[in-house]
C-alpha cells in the first residue's frame, strides 16, 4: 500500500511527541529559536515564534483525528462509488473525504484553539512568550500576580476573567459551527 511508510513514520513521531506535555514542547521550540536568533531579531518576530511553537506542540492531536476519520470515511460506500466511476484520488479526497472529516476536526480545532490561547498565556506568564512590550493577557496576569498580596487583586482578576470568557466563547462557537455545517441538523 502506498503511503504506508509515510503514515507509519509520521504517526510514530506523533506518538512520541504525545508522551511529552505540549507546553513542554512549546517551551523547547521557543527556547531553540531564542538560542538560534540574535535578541533584536527575535523580539521582532516573537509573536510568530510563539504561534509556531504552539502549532508544533499541538499538531499530533490534529493528525490523529484527521487520520482516524479519513480511515473511516475512505472505506465508506460513497467513496467506493466515486472510485468506480474513476475519479482521481485527489478529487475524491477534496470533494468526498475532506468535507466529511471536517466535522471531527472542527471539534478538535475549537478545543485546541482555547488550549492554544491558554498556552500563549502560560508562555507569557512564564516570561518566554511575546516580549513585555506586546500586550498579552498572560503578561498582564503575571504582572498582576506580583501585586496580588498588596491588595491590587483587580490587575490579575480582570485579565483572568477575560481569558475564561474568551475560551468559553471559542468553545461555544465551535459547537455552533459544527452544527451549522451538518446538513442533518439544518
Amino acid at each position: 500500500m502506498r503511503g504506508g511508510v509515510v503514515d507509519a513514520v509520521l504517526m510514530r513521531i506523533a506518538d512520541i511527541q504525545l508522551t511529552f506535555p505540549s507546553i513542554l514542547v512549546a517551551l523547547l521550540v521557543d527556547g531553540v529559536v531564542r538560542a538560534a536568533l540574535p535578541r533584536e531579531v527575535h523580539d521582532q518576530i516573537a509573536l510568530f515564534v510563539v504561534i509556531f511553537a504552539i502549532g508544533i506542540s499541538e499538531w499530533p492531536k490534529f493528525a490523529r483525528t484527521v487520520r482516524g476519520s479519513t480511515l473511516v470515511e475512505r472505506n465508506k460506500e460513497y467513496v467506493l462509488a466515486a472510485r468506480v466511476i474513476g475519479l482521481s484520488r485527489l478529487r475524491i479526497m477534496a470533494t468526498h473525504v475532506l468535507p466529511n472529516v471536517l466535522g471531527p476536526v472542527l471539534v478538535v480545532a475549537t478545543l485546541n484553539l482555547s488550549l492554544a490561547i491558554l498556552a500563549e498565556a502560560t508562555l507569557s506568564f512564564l516570561g518566554v512568550g511575546v516580549p513585555p512590550t506586546e500586550p498579552s493577557l498572560g503578561t498582564l496576569i503575571r504582572i498582576g500576580n506580583d501585586f496580588l498580596f498588596s491588595g491590587e487583586w483587580w490587575i490579575t482578576i480582570f485579565p483572568g476573567l477575560a481569558l475564561v470568557m474568551m475560551v468559553l466563547s471559542v468553545n461555544l462557537l465551535g459547537d455552533w459551527l459544527r452544527d451549522a455545517l451538518n446538513p442533518k441538523l439544518r
Binding site: K76, Y78, V84, I85, G86, P99
Partner: protein, 348 residues
C-alpha cells in the same frame, strides 16, 4: 442477441488474496508468519449481455470481493476479468469506457455522501464523464433520472438523510443509471431494506433491465430474492464456486451438497410442517481453509478423496447444464432429489 458478440463480463480463474498479517513489529516479536486470506480462490464464470448472473453464499464466501474485483476496486491476485472482451485495465482506460459499468451498494446509509444534495450526487457521474453540457442540461437529466426511479425532481434539492432506506436505494440506482451504463454490479442491493420495500426495489430493477437492456451481476445471500431476478446462479463457498446453473435448474435440481443444505436451511413460509434438517458445523476460516474440497468437514457425503483432492467445476451427471465442483456428484453417489441421509447431525 448476436451470438458472435463477446459476453458482457467474463471472469477467468480469478483469485484475490489479502494479507491479514499483524503489523511487522508484532510479527517479529511473537514470531508469527505472514497470514493470507484467500477471499476469492480461482473462480470462472461469464455473464451474457442482457442477462442476470447472481452469486449467492454466506458471509465470508467472497461474493462481495468478486463484485469489487469486477469493477476494478481491487486488483486480482491471479486470473483476469474481461469486460466486453477486453481486459479490465483496457476496458477502464477511458472515461467513455468506464461509463459503461456502474455499481450499486448494500448500505443505503453509507453509499450517499451525507454532505451532498441529491441532485449533486446523481450528477457526479454526469460531470465526471462529460455527459451534459451546461447547468440546464444537467438539471433536466437529473430530473429525468429521478422520475425514472419513481422519485420527484423536487427531491433533488434534499439531502440523503431526509429519505428512507428504500428511497435512498432509489437515489443510488438513479446515480448508477446516470452514465447510461450497460452493466450493473449490485452488491446486496436489498439486504438492508424491509421486505415490502425490497419488493419495490426488485421490481424497479427488473423493469429497468427490460427497458434499458441492462446486464446485472447480482450479489446476495438471500436465495428467494435471487430466484426472482436471476437467469443463472452461482453458489460460492469459501472463495470458490461450488455450483453454477440456470436459475430454474438450481432450484428444481440442486446438486452440490452445500447448495442442497442451503435450500434446506431456509425457513419455510408454506408451513408444510416439514422438519428442516439444518446443516451442522460452521464455515471454516478462509485463512486456513481445509484441504481438498472446502466443504468436506460439513459434508455427509465426504470420503477420503474429498479430504485430499480439490474437486473441479465440471458438468453434473444428469443435469449437464449445471456445473458443480463435487466428487460425490461426479461419482454418482449423491442421490439427487432425495434427502441426503444424515445431512449433518446438527446440535438441535
Amino acid at each position: 442477441m448476436p451470438d458472435t458478440a463477446p459476453d458482457m463480463l467474463a471472469v477467468e480463474d480469478l483469485a484475490r488474496y489479502f494479507d491479514v498479517s499483524r503489523p511487522w513489529l508484532q510479527r517479529v516479536l511473537v514470531r508469527e508468519p505472514r497470514r493470507t486470506l484467500r477471499a476469492v480462490d480461482g473462480i470462472s464464470f461469464a455473464v451474457p449481455r442482457g442477462t442476470t448472473l447472481s452469486l449467492v453464499g454466506e458471509s465470508g464466501c467472497g461474493k462481495s470481493t468478486v463484485a469489487r474485483l469486477v469493477v476494478g476496486l481491487y486488483r486480482p491476485t491471479e486470473g483476469r476479468v474481461l469486460f466486453d472482451g477486453l481486459d479490465l485495465d483496457q476496458a477502464r482506460a477511458t472515461a467513455e469506457q468506464r461509463r459503461r459499468m456502474q455499481m450499486i451498494f448494500q448500505d443505503p446509509y453509507a453509499s450517499l455522501n451525507p454532505r451532498w444534495r441529491v441532485r449533486d450526487i446523481i450528477a457526479e457521474p454526469l460531470r465526471a464523464f462529460g455527459l451534459v453540457q451546461g447547468r440546464a442540461d444537467q438539471q433536466a437529466r437529473v430530473a429525468e433520472l429521478l422520475n425514472q426511479v419513481g422519485l420527484s425532481p423536487l427531491d433533488g434539492e434534499k439531502f440523503p438523510h431526509e429519505f428512507s432506506g428504500g428511497q435512498r436505494q432509489r437515489i443510488s440506482i438513479a446515480r448508477a443509471l446516470s452514465s447510461n451504463p450497460e452493466f450493473l454490479v449490485c452488491d446486496e442491493p436489498t439486504s438492508a431494506l424491509d421486505v415490502s420495500v425490497q419488493a419495490q426495489i426488485l421490481n424497479l430493477m427488473k423493469e429497468l433491465q427490460r427497458r434499458l437492456g441492462l446486464t446485472y451481476l447480482f450479489i446476495s445471500h438471500n436465495l428467494a430474492v435471487v430466484r426472482q431476478v436471476s437467469d443463472r446462479i452461482g453458489v460460492m463457498y469459501l472463495g470458490r464456486l461450488v455450483e453454477l446453473a440456470p436459475a430454474e435448474t438450481l432450484f428444481t435440481a440442486p446438486r452440490h451438497p452445500y447448495t442442497r443444505a442451503l435450500m434446506e436451511a431456509i425457513p419455510d413460509l408454506e408451513m408444510s410442517g416439514r422438519q428442516r434438517i439444518p446443516v451442522g458445523g460452521e464455515v471454516p476460516s478462509p485463512i486456513s481453509p481445509p484441504p481438498g474440497c472446502p466443504f468436506h468437514p460439513r459434508c455427509p457425503l465426504a470420503n477420503d478423496r474429498c479430504r485430499i483432492e480439490p474437486p473441479a467445476l465440471i458438468p453434473a451427471r444428469g443435469t449437464p447444464q449445471t456445473v458443480t465442483a463435487c466428487h460425490a456428484v461426479e461419482e454418482g453417489r449423491d442421490h439427487p432429489g432425495e434427502a441426503i441421509p444424515g445431512l449433518a447431525p446438527a446440535a438441535a
